[in-house]
């Protein structure tokens, strides 16, 4: 069907669209997709989020997100007016992940940064379409019951169909 007016999407609505592939599920990496999705929705953009691989657990009812120094070579935390480097090797210290996670969550709370739970709720409330990757569900043995209400299941073709109609497509 190519009879739609320029600038309108196939379903006849004038809304702009955005899609995000969410591939990472650590506390720090959960922020960009949820911040962008909720903000876009607030700006009347129709948003689809596709959760795959390590991003999929962000749809679990009970979130237990952690952040670690590993792989975050540029990580620095504010400390007493300075910034302290967080070398990768710290990740090997027992309890370091829990400690850094607690530090990060405490800092976020103090600075008025929303929790991922809050942002996810805002995404659901603003009708962001949440798609769980069926292959990842099977691969990592998750069941539909463990996931929050209101999500859809789909695969690559489902994502591509939405992405083709989108003005912004992000891979995070």
């Amino acid at each position: 069907m190519n009879d739609q007016a320029p600038g309108t999407s196939a379903n006849g609505s004038n809304a702009k669209r955005m899609s995000i592939i969410v591939t990472k599920g650590t506390l720090d990496w959960a922020y960009p997709p949820f911040i962008l999705a909720t903000t876009a929705a607030a700006m009347d953009v129709k948003v689809t989020m596709f959760f795959t691989f390590y991003g999929l657990p962000l749809l679990l009812k009970k979130l237990n997100l952690e952040v670690n120094t590993l792989g975050n070579a540029a990580m620095r935390m504010p400390m007493g007016g300075m910034h302290m480097a967080m070398p990768n090797i710290m990740a090997a210290i027992p309890g370091a992940t829990a400690g850094i996670t607690a530090m990060m969550k405490n800092m976020m709370k103090k600075k008025g940064v929303a929790s991922i739970e809050e942002l996810r709720e805002a995404a659901v409330d603003s009708d962001v379409k949440l798609i769980a990757c069926q292959m990842t569900m099977d691969l990592f043995e998750y069941s539909r019951d463990e996931m929050i209400e209101g999500i859809e299941l789909g695969g690559a073709a489902t994502y591509i169909e939405g992405a083709l109609k989108s003005d912004i497509n992000l891979f995070i």
Binding site: A42, M43, D44
Partner: protein, 75 residues
């Protein structure tokens, strides 16, 4: 500023001022006004972008003692 509704978004970081403003705008009738107070310095650029994109009108954007004040007319 005398608006139909006031949103206190002080102490909140991006994207909460925008998300809460959107919610507050929904609760007032078309043509009504919303006043927002924020301390997030990024909100100055963000509320301008939000209004340009959504068609709501940014009537005022001022700063007073470290508080950014916005007056938005709902479209």
């Amino acid at each position: 500023m005398s608006a139909d509704a006031l949103l206190d978004a002080k102490g909140l970081s991006c994207p909460l001022p925008i998300l809460k403003a959107k919610k507050a705008l929904k609760a007032i009738p078309a043509g009504g006004t919303l006043e927002i107070h924020a301390t997030d310095a990024g909100s100055v650029a963000d509320f301008a972008a939000f209004c340009r994109t959504t068609g709501n009108e940014l009537l005022e954007s001022t700063t007073e003692d470290g508080v950014y004040k916005f007056l938005i007319k709902r479209n």
